[in-house]
Amino acid sequence: MIERIAAFGRLGLDIVSSFGRSGRFLAGVLGGVPRPATGFPLLLKQLYAVGVLSLAIIVVSGLFIGMVLGLQGYTILSDYGSEAAIGQMIALTLVRELGPVVTALLFAGRAGSALTAEIGLMKATEQLSSMEMMGVDPLRRVIAPRLWAGFIAMPVLAVIFSVVGIWGGMLVGVDWLGVFEGSFWGNMQSSVDFVDDVLNGVIKSVVFGFVCAWIAVYQGYDCVPTSAGISSATTKTVVYSSLAVLGLDFVLTAVMFGDF
């Protein structure tokens, strides 16, 4: 019994110390003024790696999710004779929820895991240490551009996801199932509010982008520099990011849309 209590205490201490380390890590990354001449090319390179290279999976997933929404929405709404509302249903679902959340989950799996593995391998092969010994802070040179790139790329990817999803929903709803195009777009325009829906969705994706990128770079930087350690850190990135995104989504939805 005492051993169990001790183990529980150790777990608690580990969690608290991990939060403390990641907080200090974040302060180290964000502290200091970046030099645009050196920082901007590094940021561009990372935006390409985490943003542009994630486009394919985001576009394809957005398209299919929009098409599925169109199909499911039509089936359900036609029972009530209100299939014309399919446009607003697809748009609200994507812009408020699925756009930011699914993009964040895909981002964690595609770009987050790659960031963790890359940084972990740089640590294991002493590249980060050698940078320190050359008088270059790896937190600013290696970690900061990756963190900012994730932070910037996520909202853009989420918007692209939603746009492609709406287009996929239109393909199925209008072109295939024959919903009137005017009511598809008209209902959507009249019910989707820019501030309440679009902006709140973008805020969600900004928060998710920050959290996913933070978890990914921290797990890479803090990993045990062995093959098993990198493998475990990569898994943690995907698991923690997914849980954090889903948990935060509930909190943000409650704050943004909860009418208490």
Binding site: E126, Q127, S130, M133, M134, V136, D137, R141
Partner: protein, 270 residues
């Protein structure tokens, strides 16, 4: 020692994961000479280099490099001190996304505002010094182990440091690559007037080039002096290490319970 110390460690105590790595190590590393730090694997030789470079802080004791108390330096001062240090890592630690040329140019691009043509000339001169001017366009994945270390060596001297630290430079090298590295370390030290610290357990190679050597074991310095003084050292542990004897003061067997008990022999075994 006839020259003033460039690095001075005094009563350094350092523990990691509850294990004491150094238990009061004191050591002076002379300026402009090659000093070899030797010892069995796992004695913390690399840790010693990290203490000198300020990547780790001792629990107690002082680490002074060129008059600066390293553990007490603030971040900015530490990073500017590191610009005077070069370190050759065991793995080479080349940046895998940069070519050989860009790896060697990296410290110059970060720390200087030299024009591109001057950076090119310096990089080619450094690569020429390690015999790899022709390999400038290769990527690190295309290099052999020995070439990787030579490129890393060129990178570590690109800013013309005062101090260079070699972490196990000979480990896993074939005889030719080893000979090349021995020559490079010796030539660089004499031509650039560097202070060199060489961490290794390759006894013949290290003793052949160093001016001064010390052996660390069980968290303490067990022997130090010139190579000749070490060869004549009275300590059995020092002699066992230098001559590579499998048994001696450092036992062959890891401490274990009685063999009879482990093998289930009630009659006992000798």
């Amino acid at each position: 020692m006839d020259s003033p110390a460039y690095i001075s460690l005094k009563d350094v105590v350092f523990s990691r994961s509850g294990r004491r790595i150094f238990d009061g190590v004191s050591l002076d590393i002379p300026r402009g000479k090659i000093t070899a730090i030797m010892g069995p694997s796992g004695t913390g030789k690399t840790t010693l280099l990290r203490l000198i470079g300020g990547q780790l802080k001792p629990d107690s004791g002082s680490v002074v490099v060129d008059g600066h108390e390293v553990p007490k330096l603030r971040r900015k001062a530490l990073y500017s001190l590191r610009e005077k240090m070069g370190m050759l890592f065991q793995s080479g630690a080349l940046f895998t996304d940069l070519s050989v040329f860009e790896n060697v140019a990296f410290p110059l691009r970060v720390h200087t505002k030299l024009p591109e043509d001057m950076i090119r000339d310096i990089v080619l001169m450094k690569l020429e010094a390690v015999g790899l001017r022709g390999a400038r366009q290769l990527m690190p994945s295309e290099l052999s182990g020995g070439m990787t270390r030579r490129v890393a060596l060129a990178r570590s001297i690109s800013l013309d440091p005062e101090l260079i630290m070699y972490d196990e430079p000979f480990a896993g090298q074939d005889p030719i690559a080893m000979g090349v590295l021995v020559k490079l370390i010796r030539d660089l030290n004499s031509s650039m007037g560097l202070t060199s610290v060489l961490v290794s357990h390759d006894v013949p190679e290290s003793l052949s080039i160093c001016h001064y050597a010390c052996i660390i074991s069980d968290g303490k310095v067990i022997g130090e002096g010139t190579p000749e003084e070490l060869r004549a050292h009275p300590s059995g542990k020092v002699q066992q290490f230098l001559q590579g004897q499998p048994d001696g003061p450092v036992p062959f067997h890891y401490p274990a319970e009685g063999a009879a008990q482990d093998f289930g022999l009630s009659g006992g075994v000798s």
